[in-house]
Symmetry: C2
Subunit: 253 residues, 2 copies
Amino acid sequence: MEYIESPKNDHIKQAKKLTTKKYQKQTGEYLLDGWHLVQEALASGQTPKRIYATEKFINERDLKPFYDQVTEISPEVAKSLSDTPTPQGIFAIMPLRAQKLPNKLSGQFLLLDGIQDPGNVGTLVRTADAAGVQTVVFGNGTADAFGPKVLRAMQGSQFHLNIVTAKLADVVKGLQAADIPVFGTELNPDAVPYQSVDAQTQFGLIVGNEGNGMQQALLEATDANLYIPIKGEAESLNVAIAAAVVMFHLVGA
Amino acid sequence: MEYIESPKNDHIKQAKKLTTKKYQKQTGEYLLDGWHLVQEALASGQTPKRIYATEKFINERDLKPFYDQVTEISPEVAKSLSDTPTPQGIFAIMPLRAQKLPNKLSGQFLLLDGIQDPGNVGTLVRTADAAGVQTVVFGNGTADAFGPKVLRAMQGSQFHLNIVTAKLADVVKGLQAADIPVFGTELNPDAVPYQSVDAQTQFGLIVGNEGNGMQQALLEATDANLYIPIKGEAESLNVAIAAAVVMFHLVGA
């Protein structure tokens, strides 16, 4: 098994670059950090292009079936590859599966309109996964799906549902053409309380930017805009929290 | 107006210590960072013991009514007081209001059983505030309510609802003695789907540690334990997300 000791090794420098959107696009690859995420990748049936693991990991975990893909790395290399201060010591280079919306849209969709915080983006995808939503559409201005912080919050949900980058205005039109109702969200009592809409087998739900909410043009294109009545004195809810409350209501019991 | 230029000034060193639980206890004070939080404090009618603000803040915001409380600080002092890389430049030392549960319990309670992540704790309190829950009880092992990260995620909700530190087993007994139903949460299909419980005018809802969930003894002391059916392949939900879904269901339309 190959062993890499120095963070200055070219393969390691390449792998580190896979945390940025630019190199992900160039190479069609991204980098996973940590055992839970690597496990999810392996369980999904996707083959890592390479696994980098410290000796401790190679000994303690059963990586034998992937022996040809594994390169041993020093703890120093692990530190240089991770954006966390105490990395576990296992990484995988994964193929970026280019995903597109099918021509015939069906099911439940979450649309992200300019969600900037990577933790929010990852939590939104994880929550959509738990709610059984099949597709998350990343609109303009939304944090890159395969950056380290998003991956950490997403907890492997990219292996369970479709993640698509698309122009949200087009997706809204496509959903409506397929008779799938599209709901926006806004912090505005002129909108409809979310509880007044029944559970839906098919829907598109749009959530908007942390500070500015959804784009006006999208708010005007939806079938209805929903809000969560605030009962206390909080000014607003975190966007991932708000999306969770509405999504679980829409998917129903 | 007094001006402090050096981060080594004794008052500044004292103020910085107020971000730790130990000094909060000793002094009965804590430190707010940022205009939104200071605004919430002022709007609540609580008087800051001192406001530290950079020249920019003093000129741009109307701090005149609080002139006697304001000390001007240099940008270097602002940097040293904040745990964010680019602080806004305004801080307030606030009194820690010691809050206790009343003898006669009533209303809606959120109980935190060992929630470790400060962002989760703050988001839970903010969400409880939005849902109209009146009291959040911090149990053993839960992150300190007045540390910088919790304060940031809480967004000022500590001024809107009661934050109490107490032994959860005692609170559960007290709630049940007052005929208030207590619900636990667990990731276990043996529990009851949350949708099968109706909205409640009074309740206690317990959420547990990110990794280990609620203490077994508490799970056994509740009236019922609820779970959120997972429809996709996600293993679990973030604790603040799960609490939000159940809380908004329990408070009802």
